[in-house]
Amino acid sequence: MIMTDKELKLKSVILRRNLLKYIYKAKAGHTGGSLSCIDILNVLYNSVLNVDPKDFGNPNRDRYIQSKGHCVEALFATLADRGFFPESDLETLCAYRSHYIGHPTKKVHGVEQNTGALGHGLPICVGEAIAAKLDNKSHRIFTLLGDGELPEGSNWEAFLAASHYKLDNLYAILDNNKQQITGANNEVMNTDSIREKLESFGWAVKEVDGHNVAELQDVLDNGPFETGKPNFIIAHTVKGKGVSYMEGVLKWHHGVPSEEQYAMAQQELREAEALI
């Protein structure tokens, strides 16, 4: 099920509106980072991943493991839209006894792994990718990393292992929004020259505009970039993308909009939708 460029663009706006709705209702969520990665998730689930809500147990499905688990609202919005579960389920987000909590869990149909502690997604993906190679399977394994997440040592252990095992079926996407909780990545812990670092670790690296759905689709669906090398995609993004007063503003990492702010955000997104 491949969508046209225009359909994908429209879908991105709808997913933005939806995830804001869930966060607003639950009065909790990771707003900025969900808005920065939603175009990536949209493209993955609507035109790259071979996954089927009705056949999710299929061992040949592509895998998507979200390492930056705190941006679960983006994942839930995308999965609901793809029919993994009714959207109305998300009315219980973060409520007592709901399985829709503030991080991905396998209790929710469509979620591959329980994440939320940073630095766990990539090693699991390395294991999935090794298994696929051992079994001569051709499915692909994707993960999404936060840029603030990179200093976790486990990522670097996995960077080595992925290249050691020549995992060209593995795709690590970096949501490079340049911010984390305390401030700018390069003030908190510098991870500059990430391209050179990864290349020196034996990965094939491409850079994309993480909000350009056509570019994302082209890069994500046409790997491997080089036979025998794991794939690293630096997606240049903006935290809070799509809601002007949130863009690049630190407090929206896990800020929840007030009634007035929520209305403004929805209005801005409706206007964006009309222009597509």
Partner: protein, 325 residues
């Protein structure tokens, strides 16, 4: 039970213990340049943003890298810095456990490990963010003192003691506003349980943020049933106050323990083990989070679900005192 509101107007609502921690440390750092705080993108949740602005030379940021946080802290402490490593309790006590075991405890580098938003403080963020294992994990390591203060007074005292403690220390803090319990009792000593309510029909031994609901239960027993429960804030989980346990054992009255921790390996099992091995056979019961997929919800909802509430503890006490009812 509402942790943010006061259930009983005999109590005064204070601040979150982790705010008191940050404020106290900030005060001390003004005159003690050897104090260094180490954070892992955690200064916001640790309420240390003002500290960082005031004393930029006394804060070291390592980014999201908890293992490095503890290793770096061990080095700083070894070089004579009075080092406070501050990170969410869940990551600090699980991710960096080997660094705690080897670089802090075994090598005896006197780091003060401060686990913030501990227990189920993070509520609906789920199991990745809960620390229901930290007492158990750290109790199994030699040469580390474990403390979970109940209220603002105890928190301030712990921080004052921690600065020059001189050996590895773990302080577990929550983020809910806490009432002060027994303002008359100004006795605080690491390793000594603090009585926050007197009584002689049974004893509730609680720790950290569960001392407050234990107090509420004891008050209800008194108001409604004329029964008197002693409430102990067992802020120090290790070393355990065995003198106090000897006294309680001698009294022979029922003992109930309460903790925001899995039932395995925490305060309750520590008390039970001591009592049994020393020949005491008081009726004994333990309240904690059971060994199951933790129910989802806010901290308060999780507490209520598992009976870590004034009502839940009250009901358990009644059962222990009047088993046939």
């Amino acid at each position: 039970m509402e942790l943010d509101k006061i259930e009983d107007n005999r109590l005064k609502l204070g601040k979150a213990n982790q705010i008191v921690f940050a404020e106290t440390l900030e005060r001390l750092a003004a005159n003690d340049k050897a104090i260094v705080v180490v954070t892992s993108d955690s200064r916001g949740s640790g309420k240390l943003v003002p500290f960082g602005e005031k004393y930029p030379q006394q804060i070291v940021e390592v980014g999201i890298a908890e293992q490095n946080l503890v290793g770096v802290s061990a080095g700083l402490a070894s070089a004579g810095k009075k080092t406070f490593a501050v990170s969410p309790a869940c990551f600090l006590s699980a991710r960096a456990l080997e660094q705690i075991k080897n670089d802090v405890a075994y090598s005896n580098n006197p780091v003060v490990l401060v686990g913030i938003s501990a227990g189920v403080s993070y509520g609906a963020l789920g199991t990745t963010h809960h620390s229901l294992h930290d007492f158990a994990a750290l109790r199994a390591i030699n040469n580390i003192t474990i403390i979970a203060p109940a209220d603002n007074f105890e928190t301030e005292q712990v921080v004052l003691n921690a600065v020059n403690f001189g050996s590895p220390l773990y302080i577990r803090l929550g983020k809910k506003n806490m009432p002060s319990l027994n303002e008359e009792n100004k006795n605080f000593e690491i390793g000594k349980g603090r009585i926050v309510k007197e009584g002689n029909d049974l004893t509730i031994i609680a720790t950290g943020e569960t001392v407050y609901p234990a107090w509420l239960a004891a008050q209800k027993l008194e108001d409604q049933d004329g029964l008197r429960a002693k409430v102990v804030s067992m802020h120090t989980i290790k070393p355990l106050d065995i003198r106090l346990l000897d006294e309680l054992g001698e009294e022979g009255k029922p003992i109930l323990t309460v903790e925001e921790h899995m039932v395995h390996g925490g305060l309750g099992e520590a008390c039970a083990s001591y009592l049994l091995q020393n020949g005491f056979n008081n009726p004994f019961s333990l309240i904690g989070i059971p060994d199951e997929y933790t129910v989802t919800g806010s901290q308060l909802e999780i507490f209520n679900h598992y009976g870590i509430s004034g009502e839940g503890i009250y009901a358990k006490c009644k059962k222990m005192l009047l088993p046939t009812q």
